[in-house]
Symmetry: D2
Subunit: 338 residues, 4 copies
């Protein structure tokens, strides 16, 4: 880390900083200029020390140098992580499409959509049994019943299942049904949940928080990994911006190549939540594949006008088939299969 | 709600929307112009219907009209809610200052700070036993031991206690020790936690999420209220912006008069997290009082340079005394006491 | 437009609004519910009336319905605008790549880069003679000398020229040299400049402001069009977000399909400014093409380490050739040529 | 500045950076750790060198250390700048209130409001003769006629005049009438205008851009100062955020104490544009004074419902009198006069 001292910091203040750093095992290199004194400190990063230094007298700012994530970072783990879900792989040459309704609404609804998802060529079924809804008056999900229907859909179609878990107390239950556990955007920094979900030993799909920086997102992955589960899939789903007139969020596709540099974990994109409007799903799905993504998660509903949630961003299953054809062509250009 | 139809929507599309609305108990008023058709729908608001309508063919957008929060809103509850914490009130004429360290670090640290907080004139002690830290390598809190020290500090000083709870499984435990349960910014939309905390029947301090709109924040309060606990204190703590060079967040003080219009719940401000820099705490505390706030929550540490967390934004106890004197003068201008 | 009255607005307030609307030529449709009164007003949109209504007693909010742009909008001009620059077209089946240095630094630098741009297959040369620099101490551009070098580069290579104009007093001069006049992000709402540039009767490349909404951007285009110049090219160049650690801006690619719905004007993307980092230029260029863009503008420098500006986001010319090959493959999938 | 090298940067890359820095007159201090090499470079700051270094091979990032503004910064100019406008001072112990209509609409309107502003105790009249409107269909201002009315109002009331200039070609004209030249938010980085306005030798009120960082804003002031005019007043007017439901912008009051640390220039606040809603003007005016501001600029209209622009955020003159009484009390607490 680098410590910049205020122009008016006295020698005593500088010495106090140096001492504290040395006590914490850092090697020190000072650079004294006309206006500023810089203290370079090389050693093991510790967040606690970092903030404590910033609070010392005379310190203008502390600039961290090392990436705060170790397990998620590519520096010590250069090859891509490939996650296995049954016979599928996520993060390998094959792109994976996850598709399904926002919420499991009924046995019939789910099975009907599941079969159409299967037919489209997608291999993973999404569907929420526990729904994080902004309003307490909105449908909160079918809960365990929904999980049972998902399991039935898997049995009948052979699709794998990804579904969200929101409560530490439900992780064990959801893990009994799901092939991939989803952490939603609102829970990206629900740290007890991250620790709990790690115990389930199933792949975790970690959505980016609505205003989470790339570093915060990778640190959330680090929580799961440090708790013993290295099977983390990162999912970009749009960030909050100043303009939501025509799209609910701004889908940050530059996060894809950035993450590919920083981390070995697979990266997928959710163009449905990322835009909130079904006409934008196809172009953004194509763009995500061209940006180098490992997969997509897409909301599908046979009757969007009757969907209990996220109707406006749900596409019809026939359109899903079309999207899969389209992105297949771009995947081919990228040297990927579908 | 108002439904705006696309210019090219046919008569059939209009009729389908009208039918669906009528089936859901809405009264309909159409306005047909040269370019657009508007459908005004008056009835009981339902989020589910709202989104389903938006997904129908020919619908350009759906504009909700009624505030989505009922219990938190001022429309049906005009007088201010005053929350009692022992002999204190929050939301009445007296402003309340909550102060203390970011984290409980040891028995000695907490007691030392608690006595100085007491002396400054503040009446509520803050201190984290469970800490939501961005890094899994950072100090995660003393947990139950920390709660015990908080209880001891209360006994010795007479201060009331506010402390954060992060996990549904810990709500009962934390509620045994705390006078006020804090929901942190990262958990504002942790809906299972909101429901669980409501059961504790203790006042809840609900911090605004880093990128939460005013409506989302009030809907989070609505979750707690609908679950049976109407004692919710709203706490503005800074929102994320494009510039964090000189302050960690942007403290949104206009939220104070806005909330005073929209809701009857008390509103407090956290100038420590709201800025992230101790020299900004005093001016922003003054400004918050001038904006009409019901209280403040401030981070204090006897040795910020050794604080395990949030040192840079922690003020020393002697400065707290000074701040309390300063805001007392502004409170007087506002017709409030301290 | 729709006027929502406050719950406590009396009959008199409603009548005053209705009268004012009628006086301005609107037809009125009222919807009276238990809690709210809605007034639907159908007529010719006027921004002035709109804001005046919102200031009347008892009015809660005014919701505009009609798109505020007429000339830029697709509603009254359904077919795509195709702009001619010499023998090139922008907005037709062929994608156009504009490439060149951030700034014209010298005759040699520009000619060297221009020939390499030519060789890569791009057909338009970019290069700044007047530079909008954040710092007054930074290089401000070679001014007219730079324009002369650009003209020479055109003559020698056959490339067309796009260059920025920042000052109303320079529009005539720059228009004598340039084939396309660029309005930079910082000047998107420099209205006198928009009006002046319209008079030049040359195509205008209008960059999106750093925090401009889609509507504001289209209204800026409307300024140029209303002043008599319909040859406007929209250029997405990244918007400001809360995270600039790994990219300078967030490139908003969903703006591309959104604009394709709303407007008939051509849309291009600037992956260099949009990310600020050269390793992100290629993946984002590919993604932009997959999102449906009509062209790209890319910063190129033979020696980025010696570039006077924007070195970190400039790619080397050999990489440009590679990018053009890569996006050519994606263009083919999209049914476009290069 | 500090240069962080990539972990895989070879010795040759390091040497190339060091050489380049030395050639530019920097002194070099290296810190070599296990994972990273840091190069501390102390010398005269140059933005050009800075960016060129970042583009060299092996460089991970360049961290600037010195504030980029010299003339605006407090480091070399510790005492507050006090600007004289006739007999008034801005930046001294007395707070100044500037008030008036958004736009000059007619002679009668302006004179009527001017007299009421005078009566309220404010000493400076605002009013736009050239209006930057989002829509080209909206009223663009009375232009020179408006300036004449402003001059007449000054003559009749003794108030000083602040009015906006948008075009380099009009600076001389506007400066003939105005006592203070206003640069609007949309033109904060209109660099030719900043240079031109500096020549007028009149105080400049520089509004913060909608998404401008503090540093960018101070650099805009630096443009004016470097061009020879040191009389710059900074005006916070709200920044763009993700939530504009209840306020048009977020008024960033923490900018006030931040600027007071960084610069010697006076700082004022515009609670009218900062919120966009008249009921928020008074509480935010109070808060601004409590935050330590040197003045306020407030939109006033005798008949907001008929105002050509900004009706919803305009207060009536009688309310202005009340606000001035209220902020006077807070000013007294702050040791300021009004």
């Amino acid at each position: 880390m680098i410590i910049v001292m205020r122009p008016d910091a006295g020698e005593q203040a500088v010495q106090k900083v140096v001492e504290k750093l040395k006590k914490n095992g850092y090697q020190i290199h000072e650079s004294r200029g006309v206006e500023k004194i810089l203290i370079g400190a090389v050693g093991e990063k510790s967040d606690n020390v970092n903030m404590a230094i910033e609070a010392l007298d005379g310190v203008e700012k502390v600039i961290p140098i090392l990436a705060p994530y170790k397990l998620a970072g590519r520096e010590f783990h250069r090859e891509d992580t490939v996650i296995r879900v049954g016979e599928l792989t996520i993060g390998g040459p094959q792109l994976q499409v996850m598709a399904g309704p926002c919420a499991v609404e009924s046995r019939e609804q789910l099975l009907e959509i599941a079969f159409m998802v299967k037919e489209s060529g997608a291999k993973i079924l999404r569907g929420g049994a526990y729904k994080p809804r902004t309003s307490p008056y909105a449908f909160q999900g079918m809960e365990e019943k929904g999980l049972e229907y998902l399991a039935e859909a898997r049995e009948k179609t052979g699709l794998s299942i990804v579904t969200e878990v929101m409560d530490t107390r439900k992780v064990e239950l959801v893990a009994q049904y799901a092939d991939i556990l989803q952490i939603g955007a609102r829970n990206m920094q629900n740290f007890p949940l991250l620790k709990e979900v790690a115990k389930a030993k199933k792949p975790v799909l970690l959505k980016r928080g609505m205003a989470a920086t790339i570093d915060e997102w990778l640190m959330a992955a680090e929580y799961i990994m440090l708790s013993g589960n290295h099977q983390v899939i990162l999912c970009e789903r749009g960030i909050r911006s100043f303009d939501d007139t025509y799209s609910r969020n701004v889908l940050d596709l530059s996060a894809v190549p950035i993450l590919k540099q920083l981390t070995h974990l697979p990266v997928i994109v959710d163009p449905s939540h990322g835009t909130g409007k079904w006409p934008l799903v196809e172009p953004m799905a194509r763009a995500a594949v061209a940006a180098g993504v490992d997969g997509l998660i897409i909301e599908v509903h046979t009757r969007p006008g009757e969907a209990i949630c996220d109707g406006p961003q749900s596409i019809k299953p026939e359109r899903l088939s079309n999207i899969i054809v389209e992105i297949g062509k771009i995947a081919a250009v990228m040297g990927r299969t579908l």
